[in-house]
């Protein structure tokens, strides 16, 4: 093997992966110090979340050779985090997680630069996310995952053969844990299923019937939910319950205790109250460590192609013994978030009314009675009457104007499609390109009238 004057230092183990050829490498992998140096110089990774998974991820990525990291988290450190969020100390309680986590990792691992962002993920505009090569998710909520997924998929563009354009793919590596169970997955929008393609993977939340809570509580959780969902409103009327306010949580706990006593139900504790109200399942430090390790490894593989990436979902279960399994989930071809959308080319002079008519005639759609929305604006709704009336005046305007004179953009439509003489209601994603403007696509591939 060629002598590459090895540094005896931190990158020794990494070098074994990056400096040598192998059988399992990706087709474009080029072993050598340049790959390692490029990893350090050019790979920019955003870690979303600086909690149990986020702390592990930051440490793992930094030790894996990534040097340009950002971390975003809106939470402050709480005492109960300290058992597993190992970058934090008692004196850090009350400080922003992102800031402390970034500082601690930089103190320990030289050469790493971590930029913290103490804010909500929604506070950053879309271009912020586009600056990263890979987004690593260490989150515990479906909402937040769904949001980041939507952002990452919004960068995705397809060529005229409906193949994703590689330079627009924003890879995501997603980790999640619940107690002894966890998952790690690789999302390459346009190639592997996005979060929305497989949202059914997340089990629905357990919701107790309200009348059970009100009339026939049987468990400690019933008592807590009674205090949280029914008693709180009865007493506090206008004030919304805030799960992050310790005073509110204390109040719910005390009410739950009273109710439990009344019905002779044992087991209401403050931590159970927090758990039930915030829907938290106890976190196990080791599960976080295992899942984060898998995620950091996948991030390295995506960046360097030193090995094939996970395809595409790893589940881990440490409840009884250890069980791991990799499942290759499939994309939803018509996914409204990561799918290509149907290309439609129209003249800038086309009115919304005419556009809706064109959808009816379009051979890939045959969509009648369409309602149309663009970037959160409802351009036209067929029903109910009140909304139809509010949007009716748009019908006579040009679509080009209604879309803010962009040359091309995604619009979403829904209506009734006719398939094999059967009418089915459906939602579709369309890529509208205005002819004769700058953003015109390949004319030959226009899909219709």
């Amino acid at each position: 093997m060629a002598d590459t004057s090895p540094q005896p230092s931190r990158s020794r183990d990494l070098d074994k992966l990056l400096l040598r050829p192998g059988n399992l490498v990706g087709p474009r992998f080029e072993p050598g110090p340049e790959t390692r140096d490029d990893l350090q110089a050019y790979a920019r990774v955003l870690v979303v979340g600086a909690g149990g998974l986020g702390c592990e991820l930051l440490k793992d990525l930094a030790l894996t050779g990534f040097r340009n990291l950002d971390v975003i988290d809106m939470d402050r450190i709480e005492v109960t985090n300290l058992n597993r969020q190992f970058l934090f100390r008692l004196e850090d309680v009350g400080k922003p997680k992102a800031e402390v986590a970034a500082k601690r990792v930089m103190e320990r691992i030289s050469g790493v630069n971590i930029v913290p962002h103490f804010c909500r993920i929604e506070d950053k505009d879309i271009s912020f996310y586009n600056d990263f090569n890979i987004i690593a998710l260490g989150l515990d909520s479906i909402e937040a995952r769904s949001y980041i997924n939507g952002v990452a998929c919004s960068f995705l563009e397809y060529d005229s053969y409906n193949n994703p354009r590689e330079e627009t793919i924003k890879p995501m590596v997603d980790g999640g844990t619940e107690g002894f169970k966890g998952h790690a997955r690789v999302i390459l929008p346009g190639i592997t299923p996005c979060f929305e393609c497989t949202i059914w993977l997340f089990p629905p939340q357990v919701k107790f019937p309200l009348c059970t809570l009100a009339e026939t509580p049987r468990t400690a959780a019933h008592c807590i939910e009674y205090a949280h969902l029914i008693k709180w409103n009865e007493v506090h009327g206008g004030t919304a319950f805030d799960p992050d306010d310790p005073e509110h949580m204390k109040w719910v706990y005390n009410e739950a205790l009273k109710r439990a006593e009344l019905f002779g139900i044992p087991g209401v504790t403050y931590s159970l109250t927090q758990g039930v109200v915030k829907n938290i399942i106890p976190a196990i430090a080791s599960t976080n460590a295992i899942i984060s390790a898998a995620c950091a490894l996948e991030t390295l593989k995506i960046a360097t192609e030193c090995s094939k990436t996970l395809s595409n979902y790893l589940s881990y279960n440490g409840t009884q013994g250890v069980h791991t399994k990799v499942t290759e989930f499939e994309r939803d071809k018509d996914c409204l978030v990561c799918g290509p959308g149907v290309l439609i080319e129209v003249e800038p002079s086309v009115t919304l009314q005419k556009f809706i008519y064109l959808l009816e005639e379009h051979p890939k759609l045959w969509l009648s009675r369409a309602s149309v929305s663009h970037q959160g604006k409802n351009l036209y709704l067929q029903a109910p009457t009140v909304l139809e009336e509010m949007t009716r005046s748009n019908l006579s305007q040009t679509l080009f104007n209604l879309m803010g004179k962009v040359t091309r953009d995604i619009v979403h439509v829904n209506g009734t499609a006719t398939k094999n003489d059967q009418k089915i209601s459906c939602m579709r994603k369309l890529l509208v390109v205005f002819k004769g403007t700058d953003g015109v696509a390949d004319m030959d591939t226009a899909g219709g009238a």
């Binding site: 479906i142 309200l210 959160g376 709704l381």
Partner: protein, 183 residues
Amino acid sequence: MIKLFKVKEKQRELAENASGGAPIKKQTAGELRLHKDISELNLPKSCAMHFPNGKDDLMNFEVSIRPDEGYYMGGTFLFSFQVSPIYPHEAPKVKCKTKVYHPNIDLEGNVCLNILREDWKPVLNINTVIYGLYHLFTEPNYEDPLNHDAAAVLRENPKLFESNVRRAMAGGYVGQIFFPRCM
């Protein structure tokens, strides 16, 4: 992909000055699905919708129900709907804004309807929920009580229940509790 990152980094440096467009509001998957639900609504005449925040906020709306049969005929009952960005993975949050004497709706507006909680499924939609709410007025049931007293009266003395409902809807007291007029 590292080569690609390198290219992108160069482009980024070049584009640094060029960009600066207005941030775009992201439409969530929940909004898209709700858009479909709403544009396909097929409501009976007895139900009407209101969008207090205008046509671009569908995630918060109100539905008024005016039963045309049963104990509650002639009353108008207003419900607020709050829809999550991960709808339909999660059921809409529904509250009754009209104070009503009803076994399955408490005085704070909590509604005991199975499809809003334990029996919610992503295949259900806003139309199903509105029909479910309508159904609560045509067939109130004492087996899932949220208002314990009203449920007991309905079970034991339907005639008295009927007159209590009429009194409450006309604006008046049932026991110690005052109900504003809603007809």
